[in-house]
């Protein structure tokens, strides 16, 4: 996998279609780089992110999961990001309880105009995950080769 023994974390980013995915696109067109470890999945709204998706990611070997949505009050669907915020607060504290450190999960608000923020957030998140190292909790051993 990794050529030089450097730790290459697997990071899944769920981005809402209206703000954060557009923010990621802006980061791209503005050539604001962030590590290739981040892979983005487009969802219509941050409230579409089912806790099940995050558990599955960790189960399959992800080292970090970040959910990005519109700023509070700016949700394209009015209230979706509020639901996401509540659900994730619950989920993350439970994950922390079972040993998936708080630093491995994050919710961030990135608007369509914030390419810079998107890139900075991803750089910061990846750096934190690199510090934390490989995730050992929740991994389904059958998934490991």
């Amino acid at each position: 996998m990794s050529v030089n023994n450097e730790f290459k974390p697997k990071i899944v980013a769920f981005c809402c279609n209206w703000c954060s995915y557009a923010g990621a696109d802006l980061a791209g067109s503005s050539r604001l780089s962030y590590p290739a470890d981040v892979k983005i999945i487009r969802v219509p709204c941050s409230c579409r992110v089912n806790p099940m998706f995050i558990l599955r990611a960790f189960e399959k070997g992800a080292d970090g999961v970040i959910i990005c949505g519109c700023h509070p009050g700016d949700c394209h669907y009015s209230t979706g990001n509020y639901y996401a915020r509540r659900r994730m607060t619950m989920l993350f504290s439970m994950l922390d309880y079972i040993g998936v450190e708080k630093g491995r999960t994050r919710v961030e608000w990135v608007s369509a105009a914030e390419g810079v923020k998107f890139s900075e957030t991803m750089n910061d998140f990846v750096a934190k995950i690199r510090d934390l190292g490989e995730n050992v909790r929740l991994g389904d051993l059958r998934c490991k080769n």
Binding site: V3, K10, V12, N17, W18, C19, Y21, A22, A24, D25, A27, G28, S29, R31, L32, S33, Y34, A36, K39, I40, I41, R42, V43, P44, C45, C47, R48, V49, N50, P51, M52, F53, R56, A57, K60, G61, A62, C70, G73, D74, C75, H76, Y77, S78, T79, G80, Y83, R87, S111, A112, A113, E114, S119, C143
Partner: protein
Amino acid sequence: MQRIGVFVCHCGSNIAATVDVKKVVEVIAAEPGVVHAEDYQYMCSEAGQEKIAIAVKEKKLTGIVVCSCSPRMHEATFRKAAERAGINPYMVEIANIREHVSWIHKDITEATEKAVILARAAVAKVNLNTPLTPGESRVTKRALVIGGGIAGIQTALDIADAGYEVDIVEKTPSIGGRMSQIDKTFPTLDCSACILTPKMVEAAAHEKITIYTYSEVEKVSGFVGDFTVDIRKKARYVDADKCTGCGACQEKCPSKKTPSEFNRALNTRTAIYTPFAQAIPNVPVIDTEACIKFKTGKCGLCQKICAAGAVDYTQKDEIVTEKYGAIVVATGFDTISLDKYDEYAYNQSPDVITSLELERVMNAAGPTHGHLERLSDGKAPKEIVFIQCVGSRCSDDRGKPYCSKICCMYTAKHAMLIRDKYPDVNVTVFYIDVRTPGKNFDEFYRRAVEQYGVNYVKGQVGKVIPQPNGKLLVQGSDLLDNKQILKEADMVVLATAIEPNKDVRKIATMLTASIDTNNFLTEAHAKLRPVESPTAGIFLSGVVQGPKDIPETVSQAGAAAVKVVGLLAKDKLLTNPCTAKADELLCNGCSSCANVCPYGAISYEDTLVNDHGIRETRRIAIVNSALCQGCGACTVACPSGAMDLQGFSNRQILSEVDAICR
């Protein structure tokens, strides 16, 4: 299993320079379900789309993955291409290997690896896609324009001229906006009122236009083609049908000390007032905070004097509910607060004014009746200093990071007008850069320097110190001479940064339109869709989208109108088929989904279900696909996992997660 074709785009060198596209094709061809993979220079071109059509035919494809730019760019293009080739458009997925890969990563190995993973995720998703068919929704053939400045007026006129009904909602008692406060316009020095007033009259007289002044949008629901809007018509306390606009009430009103909003608080107005003489409608309003009758119960002079019997202290706010197919936001701008700029002594000296205040001073209907005089002592100034970029181009927390765009030109205009009318007045302009992109703009600025002898100094002003003799000591830098200048001035004019109207954030939230960190509304595409919000059915006109001058505002207003007309001309709109749907065998009718639905799209019906041979009647969630906007909130709220979102189903997203973490 689907028969999937993968098409990898080079995008010229945009993708191919950092992603080894041949390698992507080679690896992805081995993925389960992939029966065809190829790369091409420009997939979005006609030739590229033709390649898709040929592959669909020859390989009998049932699903398509295009590895290219963002789906926000070309998803629609490839869906149409798929449809032409005979595949359901919703069997197409895009792997974004440009914005999310090639443009941000430099290392080819790393970028190629990521591109392959994103392509795999897209293939995994398409494997689970199902054909979807958009529904239809109706279009209410009426438009709403929020804001009655030049942007709103022009948009409304253009929509109305095309034959559609338009309502303008304006917060203040009259339409006209900022342009009505301006004295002259650059670069022609036209009189602003002379070109605006006829448009105001035209809008008011237009049979297709209804104007709600002194009104605000209070609530918006619905979606493109079918918005429902509550408009609060604030009580004027003057019956618009009876009022003749004679003005007797304003002459007699004893409460005369309220700062005039129209004259930027440079003088005062009465409690019952029309903001300016050419106001439309020419019907006054009573400011209850200033009115003696409302404050003490005594007075009532205006009612006694009114021959038409129009004054009615019992009037109440009224809510009008109306349906619209499209909404245009044209809420305009204001100048920023100068409270954080103590160094310019704006709050200390009445002779330090903003450029918008100078417009009022120069205007014949203004506080000085058009005479250029110091507001402190009424004396004619001999030395005037203009300061550019006050609060613009700042990366600190005091100002705005953007260029306000209009200041260079209006300062040249002011300087020129002053030198023209008062040749004995010296005018100095402190500037950082003079920005004059626009037809006849630089010529205009050069005229100010060459013909009118305006002294332009490259540098900034550090502080303005009011002197005991009433003068203002201006300390600035002259960077070209490498000197510090101390200059006694009689007046200082600040080219104050502009910002979107304070109310716009509230309005954006109601409309669920995206807004940026500077409170400008975001356009759907910075280059190709500059007058549309990403939210369907919402359009942008004027400074609400970004700083612009009058001609630009008018052109954008026209552009927004055309987009609105294009929408209203349709009888039916296709709706997004990616809506929620409940599995009737899993649903237990608990109402969790309806509780989180922002659109009220979910209802419950007693339905006869056949659960593995057991036939019984159960309470089942039914999603109205015309109302559902596909956010997916319900899918997560559902405790039994019955609710799913078509196009973004649980299984689809999980398959993407699996592909990425593989």
